[in-house]
């Protein structure tokens, strides 16, 4: 769970995004255990949780930045760095793993030239080894945003990525 590298990509949040977040917090801060739902909404708005966004949350919720940061780095689904336009996930759950998803993942990394959790320089692709997504009947599985590709071999990977490169 040790992910603490902070993005070097400049923050490009807009005033509308900030207003939307502040309004959501104002409406929900009285709820018991509101921090996680607030952070989930913030990530929905910005796509990730840079330190600037964490500061807004801390300020509005009247808690320390340390607490927000602590929660942000504890959970795998909170991203401190922006993701690519096409988010590739390769399931490394047990069912996919025993059917060779590690090879699929390695192939995708080598085609894109990036490693787990990274984004390509043009910001088009990011890749992540994901936990079981529960489509074990389709193992091994690769997802691109909401599209699911199943029963793959490493050989299928370049073709799939090429499809999105052209989009």
């Amino acid at each position: 769970m040790g992910k603490s590298t902070i993005s070097k990509i400049p923050f490009k949040g807009t005033a509308e995004q900030e207003q939307k977040l502040r309004e959501f917090i104002a409406a929900n801060k009285g709820m018991q255990g509101a921090l996680m739902p607030v952070m989930q909404e913030a990530q929905e708005i910005y796509g990730y949780l840079p330190i600037e966004v964490q500061r807004i949350i801390a300020e509005e919720m009247n808690i320390s930045l340390e607490e927000v940061y602590g929660v942000a780095t504890f959970y795998a689904q909170f991203n401190l760095n922006p993701k690519g336009q096409y988010k590739i996930g390769v399931c490394l759950g047990t069912a996919c793993y025993v059917k060779g998803s590690q090879d699929v993942f390695d192939k995708a990394c080598s085609v894109l030239g990036i490693g787990n959790g990274d984004v390509t320089e043009d910001g088009k692709f990011s890749i992540e080894a994901t936990r079981c997504i529960g489509c074990c009947g389709l193992a091994p599985v690769l997802t691109v945003n909401d599209d699911v590709y199943g029963r793959l071999t490493a050989d299928d990977v370049p073709g799939i990525i090429e499809k999105y490169q052209k989009m």
Binding site: M1, M39, Y75, T94, R131, C136, G137
Partner: protein, 596 residues
Amino acid sequence: MYRSHVLICGGTGCSSSGSAKILSEMESEIKKQGLENEVKVVKTGCFGLCALGPIMIVYPEGCFYSRVTVEDVPEIVSEHLLKGRVVTRLLYQETVTDDGIKSLNETNFYKKQHRVALRNCGVINPENIEEYIAVDGYAALGKVLTEMTPDEVIDVILKSGLRGRGGAGFPTGKKWQLARNLVPDADQKYVCCNADEGDPGAFMDRSVLEGDPHALIEAMAIAGYAIGATQGFVYVRAEYPIAVKRLRIAIEQAREYGLLGKNIFGSGFDFDMDIRLGAGAFVCGEETALMTSIEGHRGEPRPRPPFPAEKGLFGKPSVLNNVETYANVPQIILKGADWFSSMGTEKSKGTKVFALGGKIVNTGLVEVPMGTTLREIIEDIGGGIPNGKKFKAAQTGGPSGGCIPAQHLDTPIDYDNLLAIGSMMGSGGLIVMDEDNCMVDIAKFFLEFTVDESCGKCTPCRIGNKRLLELLTKITEGKGTLEDLDKMEELCYYIKENSLCGLGQTAPNPVLSTLRYFRDEYVAHIVDKRCPAGVCKKLVSFEILDTCKGCTKCARNCPVNAITGKVKEKHVIDQAKCIKCGACIDNCNFNAIIKK
């Protein structure tokens, strides 16, 4: 009245293979052919046979169409729905007999199953409360609120012998009894549901949420009445968007119908519930960590005692059960404790859902009475191992469980028998492995998972598992010693005994069980520097055979230029340079390269 019903699976498995498109195509095609007043299309939850998705069943004939594509839809409508001629080529082959079609329940996959928790999955439309009510939905809640005292409810659950389906198997009735009685003057209590199904390869809870969400709502309200709570929380994995959406719809509908909210059934009992989304932390499946997470903090476990029944969510007495456990409750109330306890073994009553995955023909969800043997599940229901390969092990219990070898295939499965053979029930993931899987690699795979998911709060888990993983890595790289095996075993027991929560206490199980049953594979890695299954890359070598034609393709495709040779002469791999990526094998047109 409709003369035909078309049921299309809208579970995650079938949705991922495109069932939503098939559904909309089916609706528009039916309209196009003017059948919209005669045929009704229903989107259901999971049927269980995920390997054959997308799945469609047409009633009244009961035709089970498998691996349907959008292109098949017009043919199904014009042939089957309009002219009454079954599209045989799309039928699940198991259902085709010489004299017609047999029902799904007679196929090997369904014959030995007994569906209690999954009874409505694939049968009703989960987004319509009326369909749930039509199959006796909310009758159990009505019975409880109008005819039974809280103590009577707890008594029935106790007598039924229901145990927690999330892993440890604690008696559910006992849990409720403690939460009811431990703090008699509590001003607030909570009912929680663990839907943070984190075990890789287990998806039965998701299936209930997607296919029968009202069953969960009803059961939580019953639990609320039993322990004296008015508020419930469902903690759902954020990776399950369809499940979250359907549960939201179901909660809204239940509120509209007065089945959640104030004064339910005019009984004076108030109960409402909310959803909280997880954010990808396996440890949050542990009860105290889950509660800490709902409170909005880092999901670290708390020492017990105090147990949640005394001091749980927000410091109040709380009950936590998982989805599958709750899904059994309404049926137990309606049919009685004796009905439930007549199924299963002496100490494990009822049924259990297993998610079959890995090297098995019929991947999917199956529900069988406790006491069914692994062999029946894998060979009869699961259809055995594909591609003529040999069975090696079945893994149950996820990262907390163990690998069961062929000699124990005839063990009747229940909580206690699984523990005795070094595994555990866990949430019910059942991953089958064949001769191509390396058991040392599998142990390492699970350890990588737990090391990554350890919250870091207690030292035995945080550091102990890390050291264990280093030892395993050493072995898979051919650098291990036999002494390492003893060290590993000692470390395993230390971690088990000294970790704070269930994650650490069970993390070494995959290592211990593979050491127990597959020690020879460890020894092969250490002594012979060989991976018998050919998985561990550092111990595998590639070799070019004499049949090489010297086409140079492998040399051109080798990413590290490890292959040399002249045109039309046999090529050679420099083992020192080779990174074992396998690109040469993939590119050889003459099958002249082998992996050893």
